[in-house]
Symmetry: C2
Subunit: 338 residues, 2 copies
DNA sequence: CTTGGCACTCGGGAACACAGAGTGCCAGAC
DNA sequence: GTCTGGCACTCTGTGTTCCCGAGTGCCAAG
């Protein structure tokens, strides 16, 4: 039922609608794409496409507009991801290479992506789950307080102040630190709980209460950091687009809800491939009318987290997907190198 | 020329306009505030106020609207900061008390302020300048790399990976760490440069190149962190307000420009008092139509940074100022306690 | 299966009138 | 001198009507 020409018509509708932001009619198609047939023929095809649910008309007798289902077909079968230009690639590379630490990498990435796609960019901090302990540090602050600093191989640093149950001097702290590091060095974060389970037995009896306190804070830190931070940038692009029939407000609200964002980016968990979620495919009702293009990134084959952009359903998918893919790759490189 | 009744009229106009979002006419004033005079009298007063530039009419024969100058007079002489309710105070207190680290404090503060004022909240991270070194840590990563961790008394932690000019073993690192801490413990961050100036002479000759490298990174960190981070929240409130004749986009852009934000919050530097900048008083052209209410906060009398909210010129100044002041105080308390 | 022709349907813009809110001004009252 | 009621005037915003044009669906012929 859906032959090649009908697909070509659908493609034409998507492309024209994306570029003009106006419903596209049969005549416009014959003019801009030479399919070698007359408007009447196109109309017949469009009638079929509409019946199938790929396109719709905003009002009787206006041009056609792709539906979410239409965009879906377009993304899946009718478009090719458009690679970036050489200049763009170089710009990305040099921009990201200037980053000094993890925070900076994430910050630069999100801004870059926003600028590149002229959309709202979203970047999840690398998940701690797959990373490894590089070093644990105990810093005495006062005689009843130490600061626990946890450094992972992704360059991430978490710190926590701990109130100790008793006064303890520096040499004992130093000993605890040594034991902790001996245990945990190189340990995957998700294995930390098992690894430290028997640790209290490996310190002098007098130190056990302190060790227990420290461990409980350490474990708590791991759990808490598990709900990861997400940052976004480029909200101004939303306002500029001018689309969003209604609900720029809803979109902004969603962006500030870490949990919602997380679900949007993260549900398709472990793939590094590009995933696209279009309009109503999207679980959150406030985000009808918006699509999400996301990809995983991470160092050394292991996926750490996801990044992507959020924009109106009416977006240029090939270009956007190209940008997201490229940025994901470069960030992965940068993280692997550092 | 501007007698008491005229001021009362101005106050009435500001209050009514803020609450109704519609130009207010002479009749409305006599109805809602009993000034004991007739509409005609009010009209005469309004004519004078308009001539002086305190109010304006959007079109001939519509009601009056306060000008920026009118709001200014209102804020300076006609309004009193409105304290929060007891319930609100308690809510603030418990919400902020739950914070686990500096990042968390800042994050909670900005969200709290946004929710409380239903406006965009902006919080500057505590300036490093006035804080002191609590601990410097050198963590060996590989034999040519160490991580420098700088912990300050505000709970802030900065870290940097350093590539060393030569291979160096752990005992030498430990020695360097000890020297560094001996030098710097308790040292004000702004005094660090002088303090470490002669430090290379206090280590064995063989360690001097390494020490120099580390110091240069340390100083660099101080400089870089000096341009402080700013976070905001509540952008959705902007869209909800529906005001902003034109330029929600401009506002969003400004919010993402750290530099602009910094100037908005920070120009009135060292006072802990509440400062209000109204519409055109504001240096940035994209922010005509928006006002900023800001206050300094910090631990123990020393001001560390600023926080505030940004909203339409047509905002409820007394309430907003009350909220900003309260939040600034509580954050200061929290920081002082930790 | 494609094409040209044709009647039909809406949306959106222009022209217009109208009600209502608010003003400015003036002459008279306190 | 200050306040007040009255009155004419000036706008904006809204609702109505009308018309144009783009685009469609259908049909009959190639």
């Amino acid at each position: 039922m859906v032959d090649d020409r009908k697909l070509a018509v659908l493609r034409a509708i998507v492309e024209d609608y994306v570029s003009t932001n106006e419903p596209v009619g049969s005549k416009a198609i014959t003019e801009r794409h030479n399919l070698g047939v007359s408007p009447a023929t196109i109309r017949n095809d469009m009638a079929v496409l509409e019946e199938q649910g790929y396109i719709a008309q905003p009002h009787t007798s206006a041009g056609r507009v792709p539906t979410d289902k239409g965009y879906r077909l377009f993304v899946d079968r009718l478009s090719q991801i458009k690679p970036l230009s050489g200049a763009e690639r170089r710009a990305i590379e040099t921009f990201l290479a200037g980053a000094v630490d993890l925070d900076d990498v994430v910050m630069r990435t999100v801004r870059l992506l926003a600028q590149l796609t002229r959309q709202v960019a979203v970047v999840q901090y690398p998940t701690i789950t797959h990373s490894k302990v590089r070093h644990v540090e105990l810093v005495p602050l006062t005689d009843r307080r130490v600061m626990l600093v946890l450094i992972t191989n992704t360059g991430r640093v978490d710190q926590r102040v701990i109130e100790l149950p008793e006064v303890i001097d520096e040499t004992r702290i130093a000993h605890l630190r040594a034991v902790l590091n001996a245990c945990l060095d190189g340990c995957g974060l998700n294995q930390v709980p098992e690894t430290v389970a028997d640790l209290p037995e490996r310190v002098p009896a007098e130190d056990r209460p302190v060790a227990a306190t420290i461990l409980s804070v350490l474990l708590e830190t791991l759990v808490e950091r598990h709900d990861e931070k997400i940052v976004f940038a480029g909200a101004a692009n939303l306002a500029a687009a001018g689309d969003f029939t209604v609900g720029l407000r809803d979109v902004l609200e969603a962006l500030e809800e870490q949990v919602v964002l997380m679900r949007l980016l993260g549900e398709t968990s472990d793939t590094t491939a590009i995933t696209v979620r279009i309009g109503s495919e999207n679980p959150y009702t406030g985000l009808r009318g918006t699509s999400i293009v996301a990809a995983g990134y991470g160092s050394g084959g292991k996926q750490l987290a996801r990044l992507g952009v959020l924009g109106p359903t009416r977006m240029d998918y090939p270009v956007t997907m190209g940008a997201v893919r490229a940025v994901a790759r470069y960030v992965s490189q940068i993280l692997a190198a550092s």
